[in-house]
């Protein structure tokens, strides 16, 4: 056993391949958070008064709120006054075409493998790229516009589609929802906005790529997706950050509105810098993601969480309309000293609503992985159904897996089924694979990927490949 164990630990001890930082000339606000900071952000962005009012309301709420009590997390206190709440590349380009994107930024995204340039583009994916706090480019805008789809940075949306933003901003995640959502509402810098008109099937995958580049900055972006009746959209989100010794804060909010019979599929591959094996550095990833599904609508969250020092996110669905559907597919890996506390909330309000939850947690090294979920069947949720499957895989002796599901049922016709298991990679499984000629590393990667199969199957093709690669890279030392 001991030999295998050492190998596993070696495998888990991966190096972070996106740890470079790019030397961009950046406009950074002085650290600290007061009402003036909020006003400064609004002024920098030339925002309308209603939005400033909304931000100030959120800021006031945030000041009254208590930081969450970290049940399972070991976390150094965050000094909210030492963070800079605004950073933007200085040569903020006014883009007429992609060729005008700052070559340094383009180079950075090239390094990340993010195809900003159209020639290098993966087929049929439109990308909104966000560096630090600001959206630097959105591709394929015209093709999308022909279909009536609006896909742009949040700032542009505020400028060009203020009524749509004003109607839906905060409609799913109210400013007072939680400590980090309130903080985000006060200081969010940019993000993505997406609007799919009635009956439109978005002609391509939409994608946002987040990158934290500057030191000592927090990233507070905001994503709002509105899918009108009978529309359909698939949205991808990717994230990386440079390797730095101090912790950086990422507190995003994502709101999804799926109107009658609309379908939103939201996929995330999160690979923020996780910190080193001693727990130095890494991103604190505190994200609020929630969707509201109206009648016959469907919202599906898929996430592969391999990065961040601390992840604290619960993509959720409010199943408001009758027969609406919510899904959550998650792979969360914690190695080194990573702590992942993630899961979902499915709140069933409408009749005949169904939700399914498939969560795969992998713990390696000194990683701690927690599934925390809530399934709530309100009194009105006639014949609602939930199925939850929650599996943990432990690789090594110093890691931990925690499963904390809450199931609250107030309707007798509702049916809830929760199953969970915890296991380890068996000696016999490894032996069997090796007898068939596989290296131990390959065997391990194969078994772990197999463990995650149900979730990877939910990802769009390009992302599934990326996710498998990431998982292998996070587990393997030299390979990958």
């Amino acid at each position: 056993m001991s030999e295998t164990l050492r190998d596993i630990e070696k495998l888990a001890d991966a190096s972070y391949e996106f740890g470079f930082s790019t030397d961009l000339d950046t406009d950074v606000a002085p650290p600290g958070l007061t009402e003036d900071t909020v006003r400064l952000i609004a002024a920098k962005k030339d925002e309308p008064d209603w939005l400033l009012e909304w931000r100030l309301k959120a800021f006031a709420a945030w000041q009254q709120m208590e930081e969450p009590d970290w049940a399972k997390l070991q976390i150094a206190p965050i000094d909210y006054q030492s963070i800079s709440y605004w950073a933007a590349p200085k040569k903020k380009p006014v883009l007429d075409s992609l060729d005008e994107v700052d070559p340094e930024i383009r180079e950075m995204f090239d390094k990340l493998g993010i195809p900003l340039h159209e020639q290098k583009m993966l087929s049929n994916v439109a990308v909104d790229a966000i560096v630090d706090s600001v959206s630097v480019t959105t591709t394929f805008k015209e093709t999308l516009a022909e279909a009536g789809v609006i896909f742009c940075s949040f700032s542009e949306a505020v400028r060009d589609h203020p009524d749509l933003v004003r109607e839906h901003l905060g409609s799913v995640v109210p400013v007072r929802d939680n400590f980090f959502a309130a903080l985000n509402s006060a200081v969010f810098s940019d993000g993505s906005f997406c609007y799919i008109p009635k009956g439109v099937r978005c002609p391509m995958e939409l994608s946002t790529y987040f990158r934290i580049n500057s030191m000592n900055t927090g990233q507070f972006e905001r994503t709002l997706i509105v899918a009108e009746d009978d529309s359909h959209v698939s949205y991808l989100e990717g994230c990386t950050a440079p390797q730095r010794d101090e912790n950086q804060l990422h507190a995003a909010v994502v709101e999804l509105v799926a109107k009658d019979r609309a379908e939103i599929k939201y996929s995330t591959v999160q690979n923020w810098y996780p910190g080193d094996e001693n727990g130095v550095g890494g991103i604190y990833n505190f994200v609020t993601k929630r969707g509201r599904a109206h009648t016959d609508a469907k919202i599906s969250w898929t996430q592969v969480e391999t990065g961040s020092a601390i992840t604290w996110k619960y993509p959720s669905v409010i199943l408001q309309g009758d027969r609406s559907v919510g899904e959550f597919y998650s792979v969360a890996l914690s190695s080194k000293r990573q702590q992942a506390d993630t899961g979902t909330k499915m709140v069933h309000i409408g009749a005949d609503t169904t939700s399914s939850i498939i969560s795969k947690g992998i713990s390696a090294g000194n990683g701690q992985n927690t599934y925390r979920g809530l399934v709530k069947m309100m009194r009105s949720a006639e014949n609602a159904r939930n199925y939850t499957q929650c599996d943990s895989l432990l690789l090594g002796k110093r890691c931990g897996a925690h499963t904390v599901p809450y199931i609250e049922v107030k309707n007798p016709s509702a049916q809830v089924e929760h199953e969970a298991s915890t296991s380890t990679v068996g000696e016999d499984q490894l032996y069997y694979c090796r007898q068939r000629g596989m290296s131990e590393e390959d065997a391990m990667a194969m078994i772990v990927n197999g463990f995650c199969r149900e979730v990877f199957d939910e990802l769009p093709m390009e992302f599934a490949v990326e996710a498998q690669r990431l998982l292998s890279a996070s587990l393997e030392g030299s390979v990958g």
């Binding site: 009194r379 609250e408 915890t422």
Partner: protein, 404 residues
Amino acid sequence: MTVAAPTWQADALEQLASLALPTKRDEAWRYSPHAKLSQLTFGPAAALDEVPSDVEAQIPVLDGPRLVLVNGVVDPGRTNLGALADGVVFCALSEAPPPAAARLQQTHESPDDAFSVINRAYGTEGALVQVSGQVDVLLHIVDVSVPGATHNASASRVVIDLAEGASATVVETRIGSGTGFGGSNVRTEITLGAEATLEHIILQDLPASQLHIGRVDVDQAASSTLRARLFNLGADYGRVAYHVHLVGEGARAELSGLYFGFGDQTLDQQITVVHEAKDCTSRQSYRGVLDDSSTGIWNGCVDVRPGADGTDSEQSNDNLLLSKTAEVNTMPRLEILADEVSCQHGATVGQLDDTALYYLRSRGIRKDEASRLLINGFADQVMDDLEHHGVRGWVTARLGHGHE
């Protein structure tokens, strides 16, 4: 025989002054009726002039000696300890023989929630069971709560020690009298020596006007076996929390229970099994049936500590909701800090199976009778391996069915 009050008891009395009751922010009390709990008043145990006449009829008739406590004081009229085998101590705490009296100075861990503090402060009397060797009869401890004028709630303490290789069965019946508001707070401390086997059964059936707060702490040495069974049936709020520590290698804990709620009852079970040693086995298997406007709470946790390799654990909680206004909150939790573990857990909530109902009806059984048959079938599975006919008979009679 008097022994100085233990220091932890004095500490607890001191803590009473600044006692903060649990709130919904405390995980273990998240769904509890906090307003009602705050109405309970405790004080030093005091004997009643006269025990109400309806008490005797409520006590299950079991084969063996019994010790009856009323409001935390021994009721000599109803207590019948008879002649006990060698190697068996079964008596009131206040009557403990000298070696045991020193033992009572010790307590299991001292949890700092308010009701545990209250129990340490006022639960001065109770029952002591010490066994070396085998006991074939049931040892029956009856705790009766009769809300009084000075305070409406009582506290008592049960200590059960099984020596190496010993085996025994202890039944704790918790009942009450009257229609006034009040309740009882009972703490049970169990220590099992190596290879000891204890069957421990709680029958909770307080009146609907009262609250019950029970806590059971268990330390298990190597290869010992605990079978703990809970029938949580009575009280307005009936709560029993188990904290089982598997300290020795190869220890085994099987916990099971049934809660069956009617009216506005809230029935709460909090189960924690801590695997601290290698190759231990634990089973948690609980079933709930919730009718009318009742609420079921089940919070079960398997906590596998570092080094507890070879842990084998299973956990299940199945619930039937029979009414539009009933509800259930269930939390099947796992905390795993060791590898080489096998942990399965699951929870279900549903209503009666339509297909099973149709099958029964196609055999000529009326719909209401078919429903009752299915509900009883669901509930009775908790008693599948219960050998004690006296207990089984009491439960089936209490639930209004008896088809054995």
